[in-house]
């Protein structure tokens, strides 16, 4: 049963046991042709176990001729973006070193305005128990795209819908060329996404994001002025190249961009399980009071 207990284990995996996650085994590419499996990174993670697969096939097509991305996927980010999306070359307690996922600017760092850099530092040093996911809030963008446990894409006519095992978060992306129709004052955890196809690339434009989500577990921030443009380019039957560009005139000095592949979960008959989150949630109880949690300091 995916319940509070498992969730606590997840919290442990995400926090206390980060050293394991940041070890070389986690960061390695799976063997060539090896499937994402249920390996050390968790269910739906990338274990690299299982029989060798045939080489990738052509991009499958939906009835409307667009690439058919239906199926189960895992974020193929090897830089530990879920822990910190920007480059984090020096290991810190609970957070191993990693390259994150930023490809622009070339230094791999979020181009923060000074106040936002300070806020992120303060989050990391004093408020890790305020991580929105520990309170079962949906992850927002782009964080949602590199959260653990993988996700499913459904592609009925006129929509691309994504649902994650983790906290049953979902995104619904209409692809019928509709405009953003919400008033600017309506703010959502997952924002308002509209998509359209440019050749074989699904381009998704997201506005109306709230400022309650973090960019990662390390406390990196944005404001409710963030605008995200994502590009999903399917290159073969098991790989989607994913890119996202973030703009936020209140938090960043310029736009920045992340990129990583989404890898198909090749396990036959795979299904996601139910992930109860708030039901019995004890996540913040694993954190020291000094980090906003409930564990008494030493």
């Amino acid at each position: 049963m995916r319940n509070g207990l498992l969730n606590s284990l997840v919290a442990a995996a995400v926090s206390a046991v980060l050293i394991v996650a940041a070890s070389p085994a986690f960061g390695q590419e799976p063997p060539a042709g090896g499937p994402p499996g249920r390996g050390a990174a968790g269910r739906g993670g990338r274990g690299g176990r299982g029989p060798a697969l045939p080489p990738p096939g052509p991009v499958p097509r939906a009835a409307d001729g667009h690439p058919n991305m239906s199926g189960y996927w895992n974020a193929g980010n090897n830089g530990g973006a879920v822990f910190e999306v920007q480059k984090h070359p020096i290991a810190r307690p609970g957070f191993g070193a990693g390259n994150g996922a930023i490809v622009d600017p070339p230094d791999g760092m979020i181009p923060y305005q000074p106040w936002a850099a300070e806020k992120a530092k303060d989050n990391f040093e004093h408020h890790l128990a305020d991580e929105p996911e520990l309170h079962c809030y949906m992850s927002g963008l782009p964080n949602q795209m590199y959260r653990q446990f993988g996700f499913q894409i459904l592609q009925p006519a006129g929509y691309v819908a994504m649902n994650w095992e983790f906290m049953h978060s979902y995104r619904i992306i209409p692809t019928d060329n509709r405009p953003h129709a919400l008033p600017a004052s309506t703010k959502l955890f997952q924002g308002d996404s509209v998509g359209h196809w440019e050749d074989d690339t699904l381009v998704v434009d997201t506005t109306n994001l709230n400022d309650r989500t973090w960019l990662d577990s390390a406390g990196n921030v944005h404001t409710d002025q963030m605008h995200v443009v994502e590009r999903f380019t399917m290159v073969n039957d098991r790989t989607i190249n994913y890119e996202a560009t973030m703009e936020d005139p209140k938090a960043f000095t310029k736009p920045w961009k992340i990129a990583f592949p989404l890898n198909r979960n090749m396990q036959p008959n795979y299904e996601q399980m139910e992930f109860a989150c708030i039901e019995g949630n004890q996540d913040t109880e694993h954190y020291l009071e000094s980090a906003g949690g409930k564990v008494k300091g030493k």
């Binding site: 619904i172 129709a181 919400l182 299904e271």
Partner: protein, 246 residues
């Protein structure tokens, strides 16, 4: 407008009819896979969540409109009702279970592919997958939302829901069940903007016989309609923080 009115009249007739009226007058459009198309954003017009037994015409079997509790279970239900404010799982923002999820005052959106039907809920971003290509339930495991496998009977999507846990209620009035709960749902388009939802509820540990509800879900016909977010636990956190700073 005329369709709308006709739909309303039909809904009214259906709600009053003790036996579900034949819906064959309407043939649902087809998806690209040839299935009856149930897709759209749907919601009950008036949520019966306060008390299923008091929602007029909702319980169609048994005929008296009462949930057929075993004696001990009835005592428990009354106790639950008394403690509803603190004991209702929904007041802790827990997953509502089936069929309660479909009866709340929040919209849901149905998606269909050849292999499955998925239902996204505005209420705490719940999500259900109804598997059309699997014919056996998972074993030795239970879920808040159960394990849903579906098949088509004519134009009706029939969903068999098992593996439900005993942690959810049916409504605010303390109506409850055990982990032996088994729900059979039927989704039938009855008009361009109406979706009949029926659920037969069995639980030999709690009820003396199966009972059944029937209600119409109505389509959101607004252009560019979309689900928003009702993040119950986030709102609860906000309220608690506000209280703490007072």
């Amino acid at each position: 407008m005329r369709d709308r009115l006709a739909g309303l009249l039909l809904a009214a007739v259906v709600a009053l009819a003790p036996i579900p009226a034949k819906a064959q007058a309407y043939t649902a459009p087809r998806t690209v896979d040839g299935q009856p198309d149930l897709q759209g954003i749907w919601q009950v017009r008036s949520s019966p969540d306060k008390d299923l037994e008091k929602a007029k015409g909702l319980i169609v079997e048994p005929k008296n409109g009462k949930i057929p509790y075993q004696p001990a279970a009835l005592a428990q239900k009354k106790q639950n009702e008394k403690n509803s404010a603190s004991a209702d799982p929904l007041n802790k923002c827990y997953m509502p279970g089936v069929p309660r999820l479909n009866l709340l005052a929040y919209p849901l959106q149905i998606f269909q592919t050849a292999d499955e039907v998925a239902i996204a809920y505005e209420y705490i971003h719940n999500w259900r997958n109804v598997y059309l290509k699997r014919n056996k339930h998972l074993e030795a495991i239970d879920f808040w939302q159960g394990d849903s496998i579906g098949h088509w009977e004519g134009d009706t999507l029939v969903v068999d829901v098992a593996d439900l846990n005993d942690q959810t209620w049916f409504d605010k009035a303390g109506d409850f069940h055990s982990d032996a709960l088994h729900v059979t749902e039927r989704y039938t388009r009855t008009g361009p903007d109406t979706l009949r939802y029926e659920a037969t509820i069995e639980d030999p540990k709690t009820f003396t016989m199966p009972w059944k509800i029937s209600v119409d879900l109505h389509r959101s016909t607004q252009p560019n309609a979309r689900l928003l977010e009702y993040e119950c636990h986030y709102l609860a956190d906000l309220a608690a923080a506000k209280k703490a700073t007072k």
